[in-house]
Structures are given as C-alpha cells and as structure tokens.
C-alpha cells in the first residue's frame, strides 16, 4: 500500500516541481549575470498561457507531429517517476532499471527528432541531425555510467544502487568520481544547456533543441516545455539519488522521515541547479563540432571507470 502511495505521490511531485526547478535555474542564471530575472513561478504562467492559446500547425504536418508531444512527455514522465526522489521503495521500481530509464529518454529523443523532421523545414532537420549526433555519444557515455554504478552495487536497479551507496560497503572511489563527471557532462548535453546548446537563444545556427520544436505552438509547445523541465528534474534527481542519497526516506521510516526526505530532495535539487547554472555561466558556448570532443571525453571517462572496475574486481 505504502509503495503505491509513494509511487503516486512521486508521479505528481515530479510534475509539480519540474517547472519550479526551471524557474529557479533561470532566476539564478539571471542573478549571476547581474540581471533581475523572471519570477520563480514564471514557467507555470508560461505553461498556462500556452495552454490557453490556439495551436498553429503547418499545412503539411502529419498525425505524428500532433501526437509526438504527448508521447515524448509520457516517456519522460514515466522515466522521471521511476527515479527515487524523496523516498525509495517505489511501487514500479522493479519494472525498470537504470538501463530502461536511459532507453526511455532515448524513446523521447527519437520522437522529438522525428517531430523536428515532420514539417520539412531546414531548421527542424538541423536540430534533429545534431541531436542524434550528440546522442550517439551521450547515450553510450550514460550507459557507461550505468555500468560503473551497477558494478559497484551488483545491480542495475536504481533502488539497490542508492541503498548500496548509502550502506557501509561504499567508499570514495576513483571510478565513482569518473562516473560523476561523465554523468554531469551527459546531463548538460541532454538538457540542452551551455556549452552544448543554449535554450535561451534563437540564433539559428547555434540551436539544437529549440530548432526541433520551432514549429510547435499552443498546447503542443506547452507539453514539450513541460517535458523539457521534467528531463532536467530527472537528471538532477538521478545525480542526487546516486551520488548523494542521504536523507532519502526508506521503507521503514515514519511520516517525519518522508517529510525530511522531501526537504532533502528539494535542497539537493536547488543545490544541483545552482551548480549547473554556475558552470553554465562560467563557460562559453562551444562550436557544434567541439561538442563531440566534449561528449567523447564523457564516454572515455565512463569507459575508463568501467574498465578499472572490471580489472579490480576479482569476484563480483
């Protein structure tokens, strides 16, 4: 019963807090740049306004164009609801391990790229092409991180990974550090942050994510924006859950434990968002063909971590 409740609360919580996290990062970024910045709740208002507006769809857009936002959102939402945030012991945590979560994000990306190609404009194509090129390095890098974690914990189940890292068996490890750096780089690329992509620009030749959703408007755009916020929340929650699992409520704790877990999660999200934005403001946007080197670094770090583990383990 408790697992059902936790799962349901998690489903709602990630959805409710995702726009807030986006608002927070925008605000911090503006403050770091000595600007006033939008109010924290601005993303909610944006979503509400987009929902109220009519959707303008190109003449030759197909059914795929109109259904893709819902599929993308659904895949991202399911993935986000399977990453333990404030408490472990989710009802459906046995349905999907870390590899599945990575692949669900891949499904979302697949349909986003197709949606970008649907209308047949130059910008949609440029976005889809670059996104898939980034993904061809980011996804294996992410899987290498998954390998590292699961070799530590002897399991690809996220709940077991975080339980292992909380437990006494875990210690500081070189491989774990490499995995953290790789995961951070992948998160930057996946969430279209500087230096890989710039969500705040509409300068044509630099945009990737924005180029794919250029033709969207109204409720479709709202759903896609919400999916993008959810993805950022997912990545920060994943880093928090794996590398800083402290404070998360476990199956045996009472209500106070759950509240504490919730507070800890919010704190971790805010800290993660702050660090992300700090990194973002300290670095310049890369040229597109520098990005593969950046992501290739993540892949190599991840692979190095895995090989170190493979070699150092005598018995699993």
């Amino acid at each position: 019963m408790r697992a059902w409740v936790t799962q349901f609360v998690q489903l709602v919580l990630v959805l409710a807090f995702a726009p807030l996290l986006t608002g927070l990062t925008r605000r911090i970024r503006a403050r770091l740049l000595r600007r006033q910045g939008p109010p924290l709740l601005q993303p909610y208002r944006d979503l509400a306004r987009l929902m109220r507006k009519e959707a303008v769809v190109a003449h030759n857009a197909s059914w795929l164009f109109r259904s893709a936002p819902y599929l993308i959102f659904a895949a991202t939402w399911v993935a986000a609801s399977l990453v333990p945030t404030f408490a472990g012991g989710l009802m459906f945590s046995a349905a999907a391990d870390l590899i599945v979560i990575v692949a669900l994000l891949g499904t979302a990306r697949f349909f986003l790229a197709l949606a970008g190609l649907d209308v047949g404009t130059g910008f949609g194509g440029i976005g889809a092409s670059r996104e898939m090129m980034f993904a061809s390095l980011a996804e294996p890098a992410m899987l290498m991180v998954v390998f590292t974690l699961s070799l530590f914990a002897g399991s690809t189940q996220l709940s077991n990974v975080s339980a292992f890292l909380l437990g006494p068996g875990a210690g500081l490890s070189f491989s774990l550090g490499l995995a953290l750096i790789a995961l951070f780089i992948v998160s930057i690329a996946e969430n279209a942050r500087i230096p890989v992509d710039n969500p705040a620009t509409h300068l044509e030749l630099t945009m990737v994510h924005e180029a794919m959703i250029l033709e969207y408007s109204g409720r479709h755009l709202a759903v896609l924006e919400a999916a993008a916020s959810l993805k950022l929340l997912l990545h920060l929650s994943l880093i928090a859950c794996v590398f800083t699992p402290w404070g998360m409520a476990t199956a045996g704790t009472g209500w106070a434990g759950y509240l504490a877990g919730f507070g800890a999660w919010l704190g971790k999200l805010a800290a993660g968002g702050f660090l992300l934005v700090l990194f973002e403001t300290a670095i310049a946007k890369m040229r597109v063909f520098r990005v593969p080197e950046f992501l290739g670094m993540a892949l190599m770090l991840g692979l190095l971590g895995v090989i170190l583990l493979f070699v150092s383990r005598v018995s699993g």
């Binding site: 959707a55 003449h59 399911v78 999907a96 294996p140």
Partner: protein, 669 residues
C-alpha cells in the same frame, strides 16, 4: 512424429517449387505459390513450436535412403533446431503473405516463383539436418536458390555484380564449412552429428572455430566477410530481401551455434576473443555504413550487418562464460543472442516489406528523392515506424528487450577469471551502446527522409497506399514486435531447453515474476517489465492528452510553416539524408571511411553553384578484397597468353604436365 511431419512440409515446399516452375506463366501462379508457401511455413512453425515445447522431438529422426553411400540422411528436431525453425518459418510465413501483394510486381515471374519455396525448403533442411551431408546439401540449396533470386532481375550491372560476388562468397563459405565438418568427423569419418559429438577431432578444435567463423560468418555478414551482403540482399525483389536479411542470416547463426557450441566439445576461454572482436567491429561498422547509405534497401542490408554483430556479441559472451563453467551467465548470453535473432527476423522483414511497398508506390529506392509518404501511405508509415522503433532498441518494443539481456550478460563478466576478456568485454559493451545510439540515428534518418517532410520528387508526391496483403503482413509483424517486447518472459522461458542443450545451463523460469516482468538472474540484480512500461507510457500519454483536451484550448489553425519567418518553398531545401548524416560522418567517418569533404565556392561575381564533394572509402573492401581482385585479374591476364599458343607448344605443355604428375605419384608411393 513431428520429425516426419516436418519432412512432409519440406517435401511439399519442394513440390511447390517444381509445380510453380511448370505453371509460372499461369494467371494466379504468384498468388497461389506465395499463399501455399505461407500455409506450409505456418504449419512448419507450429510443428517446430511443438518440438520446442517438448525440448526437441521425441521419437526417431526421419531417415531418408538418399544421399551419400554409408551415410543416411537424417532429419530431426532437437531444441536448438526447433527454436530456429520457429524463427525461420514464422517470419517466412508472414513474409509470404506480404509477397502475395508485393510479388505481383515482379516482371518475370518464372525467374522468382520456383526458387522462392525451394529457398525456404533449403533453410529448413539446414535446420533439421542431423548429419553433415544433409546440412551441407541444405546449405548449398539455400545459397543457390537465393543466388537465383538475387539475379532474377539481371537488367542492371549492379545486380549482376552482386550475383557474382555472392556466388564467390557463398562457395568459399560452404567450402570452409565442409572442411570444418571434415575436421570434426575425425579419422573414422562419422558424419552424423551424434557421432561427431563423440569423435575425437584429428585437429585442434580451434581450427574448427576459425573455419566456422569464416563459413557461417560469411553467410551471416560478419565483418570483414560482409562485403557481399549489402550488394546481394537489396538486389533481390523486396519480399526476397526480407527473407534473405531477416531469415537466412539466422540460419547462418544457427550453423555457427551448432558447430561451435554443440559439435566442437568444450571451448577454450580464448575462443571468445576473435568472436567478440569480429562482432564488435561488425556492429559498429554495419551501423556506420547504414548511416552513410542513401539507398533505402542497402541501408537496411547494412543494418542487418549491425544486428548480426549484436547477435555475435551475445554468442561470444556465451562462449567465455561456458568455457569458465558459468552456466547461468552463459545461458543468459545465449538466450539474449537467440532472442535478438528472433526480434531481428521480425523487424527486418517488416522494414524490407515496407521498403518494397515504398519502391512499388514510387519507383524510388533513393531516400533523397522520397519524402512526405506518411500522408499518402499512412498505414505503411505506421508499420514502418514500429519497425524503426524496434530496431533502434527503444522500449517497449522487442529490440530493447534483447539488448537489455545482452547488457545484463555483459555486467556479469567481471566474474571472469581471465584478464583479456575482462578488459575486452567493457570495450565491447561501449561499442554495443554506441551502435545502439547510432542505430536510433539511422532509423530517424530513414523514416524522416522517406515518410516525413515534403515530397522531394514527382513520384513521391503521387504515391498511393500499398496493397492490403503486404499491409496486413507488415501490421502483423509490427504487432509481433510489440508483443515480443512487452512479454519477453514467454520467449525466455521457451528458450530454456535450448540453453540447456547448448551451454548446459538455464535461466530461472520467468513465468513466476510479478506482472509478467523478467528478472533473468535474480530480481535484485536487474529486472525489466516491458508490459508495465508500455502500460505506463500509454496511460501517461492518454492522461496528458485528456488533460490537454479538458483544460487547454481546442483551437487549431492550419497555416504555412513558420521556419523562423523565412520558409523556403522548394522541397529541395529540406534536410537530405546525406545532410542528416553529415555531423556523424564528420565525427566517425574521417577514421572509418577516410571521408574527405571538399567545398568549392564560386569566385566573386561568378553565378555558378557552389559544390560539395564527399569522398568515402569502404576501407574493408580496399584493404581486403581489392588486392584479391587485383591479384586474380593479374593472374588471369598473365595466363591469358596460354590461350594463343601454337599446337607444338600445347603438346609440350601437356607433356610437361604429364611428367610432373607422374613424378608426384612416383615419389608419394
């Protein structure tokens, strides 16, 4: 009993081949041949499923008093051949249904119809053979029938070249298999598989491994022996391409498993090294080639090469685990490999049927001249999309389930005692992950440039939906892709007896897992539930759509595309498949293909167009095949002089040859 029934099925297929050869010009010959093939294959699939359920066919093997002296032809199921017979016949049955529609477009029916059932019969003989002779006879039958199908349209130079390359490679492959069986049979010459298992080979088993890798690997399309595959598979009519790519490659995989896992005795740990290296290279090179390809069918053929690499990664892992006595891990790896073979037979058949439908609707195979077909062929587009999702290893479709199992097997390999596989396996895992991501890019590119966007040519703009037979076949295949993805436990359980036979271990039964999920090793190590993931995505999408419907504005306005305010009216301004792959070509291609780009800009005031020249090399062909071709050419040119000798010189040559032979015979006595 099942063996005899299967024998009857093969006999019927052969009779059908003869019958359609005689009646190929009759009015409904094509529909009747393909319909009958579909029914026979369906029956064979049912028989094989029965045999698989029983872990092999009880009772005696079917003995035929034909074939070599001293050796009777023995046909019969065991668990391994039953599993592959299900894969082969299920896909063949559905493809044959599609062929009722697609096969009508073939110009010269008499060059296709007789060979089609014969091809399927040959594959079944290979699977059922219990001795080396019938195995090889079936193998050659399959090769020659498919060769005849490849050259059925010999109007173009490229098809004739494909036929030649295929014939040479197939002959070489069969020769190495012959040698492999010869080594296995030992000095006593026991050519039945039962005798081979007992016999002591008179050469190290490693030679058998190399011969099997060359023989079966060349048929499957393992790098560097893949060169014929992207030439021959697309040259055949599309429904035959579906069989060759989706089904025949699985027969090759079967041959490899049969020889290396079953007949060669216990493997040494280092056997996996050449297998894993070749497999990883195959997976990566296959998908990169597919990404560079503009031709839809050739792209699919290269993607077959990639998937064969994924299957052989599983087989290589299974070899290491088996050599080290890790039975459960070996079972996991071999189940992953065979499951992926099954999945590939489904989605590759689907995609080739789809490409056939596109080809007949537009007359185009070049993706650069297609586009926008989702509007004119909506159901084909839907089925093709399902195939693309499945082949890109995305949940909840079946390609993901088998790749997930492969990843789980990779994660068990730190327990291996040897150093080399422990270093090699993570690199192979990274390659597998990389090729999975590239496969997704490849699918996006193929679907996007064929079905999405605006039509790039006149025929693409005027296309119409394809016939109901091939549509039905494609939709059934798409449904099976989804079904195998959401219920992987069923497949894993039915492969239990296979892994028992091949690696002497089996996975825990999955039917007891909650909610029809899978947890192959144990639930704490890793679990996946395709059904639940599918239900969750579907209901989350439905809930979102409902919420949007309830609370959001319903207004929808059709308008011109926005495109940042400067929409380009010409459909040629869209991204082309070549442009789509350009970033990937720049990242990976400079090493793999020695790709060079050259931009020539017109000078100031010059109104000529700017040109981009791209140079790609097939490095494997240049390094391995081109020297052989040159050597053969040079030798032939040199020997050509022998054709123009005088009669005295000919007599002298004959005399010298006679002397040399006599000397050889005399000294060897």
């Amino acid at each position: 009993m099942l063996n005899q029934l299967a024998g009857v099925g093969i006999g019927l297929l052969l009779a059908l081949a003869v019958g359609s050869a005689l009646l190929a010009r009759a009015r409904h010959a094509a529909a009747l041949t393909y319909g009958a093939s579909a029914l026979i294959c369906l029956a064979l699939a049912g028989i094989a499923l029965q045999a698989l359920g029983a872990g092999g066919a009880p009772g005696v093997a079917l003995e035929l008093r034909v074939g070599m002296p001293l050796a009777r032809t023995q046909l019969g199921f065991d668990a391994l051949s039953a599993a592959f017979a299900v894969i082969v016949n299920l896909a063949s049955a559905i493809v044959s249904v599609g062929a009722i529609g697609l096969g009508r477009h073939v110009r010269e029916q008499q060059r296709v119809l007789p060979f089609y059932p014969a091809f399927i019969a040959g594959m079944n003989v290979v699977l059922l053979a219990q001795d080396a002779f019938s195995f090889l006879i079936g193998w050659e039958f399959m090769s020659l029938a498919s060769w005849a199908l490849v050259v059925s349209d010999d109007c173009s130079d490229s098809n004739r070249r494909a036929g030649l390359v295929y014939l040479i490679m197939a002959t070489g492959g069969a020769l190495t298999l012959l040698l492999a069986f010869g080594v296995l049979a030992g000095p006593d010459g026991g050519y039945a598989f039962g005798q081979m298992r007992q016999a002591t080979a008179f050469a190290p088993a490693a030679i058998v491994l190399v011969l099997a890798l060359i023989g079966a690997g060349s048929k499957a399309g393992l790098v560097p022996l893949h060169a014929w595959l992207p030439l021959a598979h697309p040259a055949a009519p599309s429904h035959v391409s579906a069989l060759m790519s989706g089904v025949m490659t699985k027969v090759a995989v079967y041959g490899f498993i049969r020889i290396v896992f079953d007949l060669s005795g216990p493997p040494a740990w280092w056997w996996s090294i050449p297998v894993l290296l070749a497999a990883a290279a195959t997976a990566l090179l296959g998908v990169l080639h597919a990404l560079m390809e503009q031709d839809l069918k050739r792209m699919l053929a290269y993607s077959t090469v990639e998937n064969i690499g994924i299957i052989f990664i599983g087989l290589g892992l299974a070899l290491t685990f088996k050599a080290n006595g890790m039975a459960v891990a070996a079972a996991l790896a071999i189940v992953a490999a065979i499951f992926h073979g099954f999945n590939h037979s489904l989605f590759k058949s689907l995609l080739f049927l789809g490409s056939g439908a596109v080809l007949h609707a537009t007359g185009e195979r070049d993706m650069q001249r297609l586009g926008g077909l989702i509007h004119r062929m909506p159901l084909t587009a839907l089925a093709f999309l399902a195939g693309c999702v499945a082949i890109s290893a995305l949940p909840p479709f079946n390609g993901f389930a088998s790749e997930w199992l492969t990843f789980q097997a990779i994660l068990l390999s730190p327990q291996l005692p040897q150093w080399i596989p422990r270093l090699l396996v993570p690199a192979v895992g990274a390659t597998l992950a990389c090729s999975a991501a590239l496969a997704a890019a490849c699918s996006v590119r193929a679907f996007g440039s064929t079905f999405l966007g605006r039509a790039r040519s006149e025929p693409a703009a005027g296309a119409g939906e394809t016939d109901p037979w091939s549509l039905g076949a494609m939709l059934v295949l798409a449904a099976l892709c989804l079904l195998a993805g959401v219920l992987p436990g069923l497949v894993i359980d039915s492969l239990g007896s296979v892994s028992e036979l091949v690696v002497q271990g089996r996975l825990a039964p999955q039917s007891g897992q909650p909610w029809l999920g899978i947890a192959p090793v144990d639930a704490q190590r890793g679990a996946y539930n395709g059904l639940l993931v599918f239900v969750m995505i579907a209901s989350a999408a439905a809930v979102t759509a409902l919420i949007a419907r309830r609370f959001a504005s319903h207004a929808l306005r059709r308008s011109a595309a926005w495109d940042c305010g400067f929409p380009e009216p010409s459909p040629l301004a869209q991204y082309t498949p070549g442009g789509f792959a350009q970033p990937i070509r720049r990242v990976f291609g400079s090493v793999v293909f020695r790709a060079r780009e050259q931009v020539s800009m017109p000078g100031p005031g010059d109104t000529g167009p700017a040109r981009l020249r791209v140079e790609l090399h097939d490095t494997v062909w240049d390094a391995l095949y081109a020297p052989v071709v040159r050597a053969v050419d040079a030798t032939a040119g040199y020997l050509n002089a022998l054709q123009f000798l005088t009669i005295r010189k000919y007599l002298a040559v004959v005399f010298i040859a006679l002397i040399v032979l006599l000397v050889i015979i005399g000294t060897s006595r």
